[in-house]
Subunit: 331 residues, 6 copies
């Protein structure tokens, strides 16, 4: 159990001794000007990143067998460098499996995952189309897939980039999608919601999230659109008498959900449900990115009448936090 | 009062005599091969267009004083040409003002305009922001503007291109927008709904709809974004103590609602409400265009497994009517 | 057996009587100006298309039960209309299955398909990678797939748009690819050739070629890149111990073979073999399109120093037939 | 009155004592490695920027109450860091209003503003169109607007980015425009010149230039095209009997002057005067940017046969100073 | 000598007999429905195009030996077809060389070519740079080149598409350029004017204008930028001691004058003179295209408040004739 | 003769004394914090770059007369700075001409240039077209041009950026091109190979390679496409009776070889040989760039399953070294 987080260090005085568990994000051998070897580490937990220096790697209190991706327990003191805090490490050992809680070490959703999962299950339960209900029930009965689906981030960095981000994104979409399906009579509700649930399922294998969020090699070469559509196609193949029309439509929604060829969808949306899906997916990703950016501005102490930094997923646009600006001076 | 519509003619035999009121969409002087002058007319009503021929323009039963844009009463017989029906016109006179019902002559919304208007009024009544409520109330108190707003089409041809289309589009957006505002805490509901109501208000002067739907010269040179933003800016100027911040935000939403510079918005959305507005506006326009295209395919007797024609506002994409295809064979 | 082809009609005098087998490409009910019904047919064979008119559809010598896509035997006379030849049809009946030779009725490759197939088999036999050899052997052992692969066109209209076109395109690529693989040491020959063989295999289900070349509905919604990659992935899944690395690489080549996202590849080439594949595929398609256009110009009697018409797959560019121009005046 | 400028420091020896007035462009609290707080300032005047360090912020000779945007008098010594000069500050106080001359502190036009203004007035006086003359005279009678128009930069950074830059740009355009209007009979001279004068008038509120050149929040959200067109529309509204046609044309020129939708013009030029305006505006901005870049190369001692740095407003192109290169070796 | 022009025919009655000289723009053999051969001709003169029919090509009064590109004398009568006038031709013979005046048969400049030429010569005479003066004098001393330069159109269809159009365009540019060179001190006047004179000189071989305006085969394959730059490079090579720097600069201006790579310039403007040249060239071409379109609208009787047709060289934009619209109702 | 190379330094201990010849790539005067002048040099040889410091430029053992581009002999000691090796220089003098071997100092091809040249000559000898053979023989008889052609890099940085790179690229293309010409009957082999040999010949004057690889000023302003086409056009002009058709075709291939206007080709490929040339040129450049990147990854010790860095000429794509990855674990 971790009780000191990287974000806490800002308030430490130089020289304060402390210990904690960290994820090793990078490990490099370096030499000082006087030609002595030292270790430079990048340590992470769910609140941020911290540089750590081991000035005497030969010290018996420093483990030799740890690598990038391992969780370690480090003891040392805070030291200031160039206005940032570093850690001077005196002792370091690998953590025991029972000491590790991954949600301490990587950013994760602030939502209750069990609650999100219940929402997902209840949406599926509400389906009137028995085949789509069967498909989703069967898929999520596979416990390994369901576990990954609950844990995966929704992206490597742009939006919902945290453990549980994929599920959080899907639940947000389902709430939006239910309203939209009710609004437009030409939309088949169950089909749209199926697409919203499954569109990014390939991310469970496109990304890995053991030590930071990175692409798998398979993910780089094949992409989550292919991985997801094959995963779902196989599940449908295994269901007896799954209607071929539904199969084509579900796959089409996964293939087309990026909405534009240049965003990596091999097909453009050609059914109303696919079009609605691509709009909602894009809107939700952008709204989440804006929310994160607004939170960051508040944390950084920016005044309410200053634009945010450039937001990557909005073409480097800068935004204004409307509510905060309107309320300014009222509190 | 019109009782025979252009769409009825498909079922007429050649030579059937009939009369009806029409809008004159075009009028041309032509000559036959044997050098005799005749009139070629394009007549319209809310169900379509019909070519009409006056072979003897000198006949005293043919009025001399009508022009493009006038409503006329014509009597004559159905005649077939190249598999299409034409009208051979024997008598023609200008309609009396009291004989004219514009909604017979141009396509109009199938919704009850009074009902749509009540919805609009009740949304405004639900606002908690007093300034935005004041703005909208005052604007729609101006009876001429309110009348135009109830009558205007939402576009010249792409989507909601019918009388009342603008209001119908706005009401659809308000229903969507209410859900979206409830879903995302960072959105200011009243501000978003204000943007949804006002974003296209400049269309009341960009377009004219006396004889078909066309751009005014002012509309061509200035565009509805400028016209609308000036119209709303003036209204805000007249309200005592209207908050300058709100003024900037409302104008920003009108200016940025096309979402992209290349679509004629001089500013990109820089507040969450403007981003949501541009998404919803685009989605609703496309859903309406798809609905119209699906209706057309059914009217044209296309089979359920055939793609639609190329839809202009979806980059010439062809679509599949999911619900119809899935239900095929079930009825 | 067909002995008169549409291309022969140019030399017929008006009124010449003849009969032949045709594919019915379209069938429409129409009415004359005097309100009498007649049939307008579009007939096709491998040499072109011909309009046919049945002025008396009630005649007992005219079959009632034929539809678009059927093969019929028609008897009638040549008639000229607007400088084109038409057929005035007096008798018409459905063809017997044993009377039909599809290669008479649709354009097909001028190569010997059996010979092309032998080349394909011998290339696979030359592989030193046992897994890739196993994959291809197994795939083409499936007789239905092999038959479709031998028969499919390579495209709906742009290049190799004829029966056997896919196989002809693949063999051309294999000859090119063998040279390129020998030239660049960084290329894995068997992997590259596997990609060249399989890249378009999804076309066997994206297209149908019973009555002209058209997209299947599945093809329109999913595309040959998805269809092909799933088809190949399943085949690899069934092979015991197929190496996962090879599986990823083969799929990557299929997914990326269009070379650009905007051409519908969900991934860009990220291995040398995929890059070479996308270059060779593009080059071969364009060279074939040019060859067809040059042939067309010769058939149309264009002089050697005149540019061709605008070639669609070369961005509407016009070309010059170098060899013909250089030889002009030498013969 | 300022007598020492930042550009003078290059010639100072280390340790030289001096004092001067500066604009505070940025102010940051920092800590040394030994954890002592110090102030890091960015100081500016019309000749450039200078880093200043206050190593003892508690010293009573150092004012506590100054902020970014203030003008201060600082006393200290030159010190070299990383080949650049810094200022070690020993004393610092806010400047008195009567000590401040803004043109010392921000870059300003090298032209005589009064002379530029006389030119503007005389061009307006030369108009034969009484309504346009009335419009411009009235606008510039508003003394606050006239003052801002004389002082505003033409841009934040790309071209004419200095006090008086807007007016300098406009006068340059008027001289060009007079020639062009005389050359093309289809151009209405007064209308073109009106457009040249007013096209960027919205910059007076889009930008602020108290402490460096920055966008106002209103400017970021609405843009100078909207701000300017509304400002001019209101002025026209107030003139009795201003011709509606002229009003539309003047507004169209402001709205379309960027010449392309992707540059933020909501309308493309649709009248000859608007087209000419967009060409001249673009040409003049680029010629000015080139002139500045050439001056910079000469100041930096670049040889005449070396290309300039990459010029932002010419898509990062590098240029050659033709005249200088041709004259090289001749002097 | 031609006294009847195609434009005159609109006022002829059907059956009116007349004769005149025409350029044969196209000649086709056709057959009537009753299988009789006839000739369909496209005839042209400087005022337009006219279809001509020879119903009895065997008649001894109809010459057999004429081809596309020949000038013929035709006699026959006016006949109306589909609201357009045609000519029914009874006699036709090749014109004698002494009967032909090419300026009657192709559209030509309305300016006095001799006068334009004098302006060109006097501009060159005003040069202070002896080398550039030498270059231009020598080039235009070559009488064949000078003759072609006086006769060439400036383009195939977009702007100045008439005999003498190139020279007319150049003179217009020189007048503009002289003003611009005087305005910007960084411009070398003689260099800019040299560029304006020579930028399109390759058109004398890219185009041919014997029978309509068409690309030569060399022009299609090499383009006027290459042809012109080689032509000028050779001329400079022949001048003793022509300064290499000037040579590079002059060639750079020709190569870069289209201003964008995608418009076929292999280099972007990298000197101020080249930048100014590309602006002026583009502006003058567009102003001329607008002038032509405005003239066409007046000829076609369009009202002053109607937009023009879509102008190709302005991206299909429609324009408003400002002066005409403002004067409407005043005359 | 050079015996110590920059790449060797990684293995040196700090303080090791050594001397060697270097090319001076940059030379700067700087001052220390204590205001003492020193020299900062960038030294290069074929294996890389090295920073050198002369702390006492006044020392008589340090030459005063060397500049950027000179070859010098430097003596000093290795010193480590920020994990990179530097050279502390004690003595430095200009190299004698007879001490300089340029291939030691700049990266050069690893192929045998004489062997490459023999291949080129034998390809030309194999031509059956006497005119093209004559053209190439004559061109390469010009010994200065032939020498430059053997020495030039193929590019400044993207691919084959080393001495002899142009020739190496051409030989690679000829081998590919021979196969492609044999494969497609519509290709004229000699014409294609002529294009492959000559397409980049302008690089001999666009680039200079005395001190690093840089653009000449002429190269920047005119480009190798223009320079090369003029060089070849002149050579053809000098050959008696060179066929004009061939001349146009050869020039067209040079002008169009970049394949796209936006890549600086003023013409798109309009003959089959030009199209094939642009494909092969692009493929070979990319394959070489990939090979270099793969080599770099191996040198840098990257694991086989890690993607390369972003490759500039493949739009910043990252690649996987297929062969290495497949062989991983097998060795």
């Amino acid at each position: 159990m971790k009780d000191i987080y990287i974000a806490d260090l800002t308030n430490f005085n130089e020289g304060t001794l402390f210990d904690s568990f960290f994820l090793v994000l990078a490990k490099q051998q370096r030499t000082t000007k006087t030609n002595k070897p030292y270790l430079n580490l990048m340590l992470g937990d769910k609140t941020g990143q911290l540089e750590g220096r081991v000035w005497d790697p030969g010290d018996p209190r420093i483990a030799k067998d740890f690598e990038k991706g391992d969780v370690v327990k480090a003891r040392g003191s805070a030291s200031r460098f160039d206005d940032r805090m570093q850690m001077k490490i005196d002792q370091l050992r690998l953590a025991q499996p029972n000491e590790i809680d991954k949600t301490d070490l990587l950013p994760s959703t602030t939502c209750d995952v069990a609650e999100l999962w219940r929402k997902l299950v209840s949406v599926v339960a509400s389906f009137t189309n028995p085949d789509l209900k069967r498909l989703l029930t069967t898929l999520f009965d596979e416990s390994e897939l369901a576990a990954a689906f609950r844990e995966a981030p929704a992206a490597k960095g742009l939006h919902h980039a945290w453990l549980g981000g994929l599920l959080e994104h899907v639940i947000s979409l389902l709430e939006l999608g239910d309203g939209v399906a009710a609004h437009y009579p030409l939309l088949d509700r169950d089909l749209l919601l199926t697409g919203l649930i499954l569109h990014d399922i390939g991310k469970v294998r496109e990304l890995r999230w053991e030590s930071g969020f990175e692409y798998t090699l398979e993910g780089s070469l094949l992409g989550h659109i292919h991985i997801g559509s094959v995963l779902v196609e196989r599940a449908m193949d295994k269901l007896p008498d799954f209607p071929p029309k539904l199969k084509t439509l579900v796959l089409h929604m996964i293939l087309s959900h990026h909405g534009k060829l240049e965003f990596g969808s091999p097909k453009l949306p050609m059914i109303p449900e696919a079009l609605a899906l691509s709009f909602l997916d894009d809107l939700d990703a952008k709204m989440q990115a804006i929310t994160s950016e607004f939170d960051k501005c508040i944390r950084d102490g920016k005044p309410a009448d200053e634009l945010t930094g450039k937001v990557w997923s909005l073409d480097q646009r800068q935004l204004l936090n409307t509510k905060r600006w309107l309320n300014e001076g009222k509190e």
